[in-house]
Symmetry: none
Subunit: 205 residues, 4 copies
C-alpha cells in the first residue's frame, strides 16, 4: 500500500546515485501526519486530497505520485501512527489478559484514533482496496496476536480445546466494534468487562 510504484528500486538499495532531487522523506511523513489529523478532525468522508495537500503545504501531484487514492494515503497514515498498537500482557490468566487488552482497546476507540478506525471500516464499504488494506495491515496482525493468547489458554487448560479461536475472538471483539460502528450504546471500560464476563465462562473448561 505504501507506494503505487513499488517496482522502483529504493534509493538505499541502489548505490548508483540517480540524478535529480531525492524523494523527501520529510514530505512523506508530513503528508501522513496531516492526513491523520484531518481524518480525526472530520472523518473519512470530509477528507479530501486537496485538503491534505493544502494542510501539508504540498502539491496534489506529490500525493498522487505515491498513493493511488484517498484510501491509500489514509491507510498508510493510520498504520504509521502507533497510538492504536496495544500489546497483550501475560498475567497468567488468559481471561485477565484479554480483559485488560479490551479495556485499553476501548480507551483507544474513544480517542480520535477510534474515529479513524471507524472511518476506515466505513470507507472499506465503498472501497474494497481500502477494506483489504485494513484487514491485512491492521486486523490480521491484531487477531493473530490475540489468537496466540487464546491458544496459550488452551494449552494451560483455561480454555476448552474445542473452541474455535476465530469465532471466540469475534464474540469478544465483535461487540466492541459493533458499538463503535453503530453507537447504539456507550463504549466504556465497564462494557469491556461485561462482554468478557458474558463470553468467557462459555469458553472456559
Amino acid at each position: 500500500m505504501s507506494s503505487r510504484r513499488s517496482a522502483r528500486i529504493p534509493a538505499k538499495e541502489c548505490e548508483l546515485k540517480t540524478p535529480g532531487r531525492k524523494r523527501c522523506i520529510l514530505t512523506q511523513r508530513c503528508i501522513l501526519e496531516k492526513t491523520l489529523e484531518l481524518l480525526e478532525e472530520n472523518g473519512y468522508a470530509e477528507l479530501t486530497i486537496e485538503g491534505i495537500a493544502a494542510r501539508a503545504g504540498v502539491g496534489k501531484t506529490t500525493i498522487y505520485r505515491w498513493w493511488p487514492n484517498k484510501a491509500g494515503v489514509v491507510m498508510d497514515a493510520f498504520l504509521s501512527s502507533t497510538s492504536h498498537k496495544i500489546p497483550f500482557l501475560d498475567t497468567g490468566s488468559v481471561r485477565e489478559d484479554i480483559r485488560l487488552h479490551m479495556r485499553r482497546f476501548v480507551k483507544v476507540l474513544n480517542s480520535p484514533a477510534g474515529r479513524a478506525i471507524a472511518a476506515l471500516i466505513a470507507g472499506g464499504r465503498m472501497d474494497e482496496v481500502l477494506a483489504e488494506s485494513f484487514r491485512s495491515g491492521f486486523l490480521s496482525a491484531r487477531r493473530s496476536e490475540a489468537k496466540q493468547v487464546l491458544l496459550r489458554g488452551i494449552e494451560r487448560g483455561e480454555i476448552r480445546a474445542d473452541v474455535n479461536p476465530e469465532v471466540a475472538l469475534d464474540t469478544l471483539y465483535g461487540p466492541v466494534y459493533f458499538r463503535l460502528m453503530t453507537g447504539h450504546a456507550p463504549l466504556t471500560s465497564g462494557y469491556a468487562d461485561a462482554v468478557v464476563e458474558t463470553v468467557m465462562p462459555g469458553l472456559a473448561v
Copy 2:
C-alpha cells in the same frame, strides 16, 4: 427521516388541511424503489442523487424537497423495503429461536440488502442524523424484539437471570455485524451456528 420539513404538522394530528397539490405517493415510492435498486447494483458510494432522479424519471428538486441528502433517501428506501424484516419464532427453545433468526439474518446480509445495511452503518460515521435514524428506525426495533426473546428465556429458566440482555445481544449479533463491516471472514449460516454455540452456553443456567 421521512421529511426534511419535520416541523410541519402531520395531517393526522392537524385537522386543518393544508392547501396545495398533494404529495404524489407514487413518485415517492418510485424514488425509493429506484434508490434501492441502484444501491444494490453499485453500492452507496456510486449512488448519486442525479442518478436516482434520472432512473426514477423525476426532477432532482423533487428528491431534495423531501430528503436532506443521499443518506436520507437511502435510509427511507431501506426502511420502506421489507426484505430485512425477520420475525422471531417461538420454538420453545430460546437458543433455537435465536439460532434460526441469526441464520436468516445472515442470509439477508449476504443478499443485496446486506450491502445496504453496511452502507447505512458506514454512512452513519459521517452523518450523525443518519446514524440516529438507523438506530431508531432499524436497530432498536430489532433489539427490543430480541430482548423479549431473551427475557422469555429467563422466565422459562433457560437463561440465567443475572444476564444483561443488552450485552448478551451484542455478543450474539455484534460478531455478525463485525464480519459484515470488515469482511475479514465469510458470513455463513454455519458461522451463525458457531456464534450461538460459543455464546449461549455462557448464558444458560
Copy 3:
C-alpha cells in the same frame, strides 16, 4: 398584452354573463404594483415570477393565468403606471415646447421609472415580444405626440418643411436614451438644454 386568453369574449361585449367567480380586480392591480416595485428595485433580470407572486401574496398560477410571461406582466405594470406620462405644452415656441418636455423627461429617467424604462429596453433585447410591446405601448404614442409638435412648428414656419420628423425626433431623444442606456455621461436638465441647442438650429428655417 393584457391577457393570454384573448379569444375569450370580454364581459362587456357579451351580455350573457358567464357563471363562476369574477376576476378580482384588486389582485390584478396588486400584482402590477408589486411588479413595478420589484422592477425598480432590482431590474428586469432579477425579477422573477415567483418573486412577484410572493410579494403580492398571490399564487403563481394567477399570474400565468393572465399573462404569458415575465415580459407581459412587466409591460402591463409599466404601462399602468402614470409617472412616465409627460404631456407637451404649447408655449408658442416649438423649441421651448420640446426643451421643456425633454427636461421633464430627463427628470423622469433619473427617477426609479427611468430604471424601469431602461430595463424594458434592455429586456427587449432578449424578448422580441417585450420589445414590440414597448414600441407599440409606449414609444409610438409618445413619438406621434412629439411629431405633432414638430408638424405644428413646420406649419408655423419655425421648422424647415423638408425636415424628416422621424429623424429629427431621433436626434433629439436618441441622445437622451443613449445616455440612459450606456451611462457614459450624466443625464441632467442641462444636458437636455444642450441637445436642444445643438440640434434645433439645424432644423430651424
Copy 4:
C-alpha cells in the same frame, strides 16, 4: 474584465516566472470564439455558460476560473473580435468623414456583431461592472477618436468653435444606438446619411 483574479501580477510586469501549468492560450481563444458564435446564433438571453463550455469542449470550471459571469465572457469575446473596429478616414471634409464612418457603423450593427453590442448594453443595465467595461473597453476609445475628428473640423473652420463635442457626438451616434436598442425603425445607410444631414448643419459655421 479580462480576469477575475486581477490582483495577480501579469507575467509581463513580473519577471519572476511562477511555476505551474501556464494558461493555455488556445483554450481561451476557443472559448471566446465559441462564445461569439453562440451569441450571434441565439442572442444573449439564450447564451449559457454550460452551452459555451460544451461547444468549446471545455470544463465549466475553466470558464469560471477566468471570468466572473456570462457578461464577463461575452465582453471579452466581443472586445477580442475585430469586426466592430472601424477607423475614421480623413477625406478633408469632417462631415464626410463622419458620414462614412456612420454608414460603416450601421452596417456593423446590422451584422451579428450588432446583436452582441446591444446585448452588452442591455446587460450593463443589470451589471454595473459590465457597463463600465463596455464604456471603458469600447465606447470611450471610439468616442475619443471621433472627438479628434470633430476637433479637426473646428481647427479647419468647418465646425463652430463653441460646439460641445460630447453633446455633438451624442446627437450623431445617439440616434443610431437608439434604433439599435429599441428597433422602432430600420437602421440603414440612408438613415446614417439622414442623421448627418439633420445634425451637421447645426454644427457648421
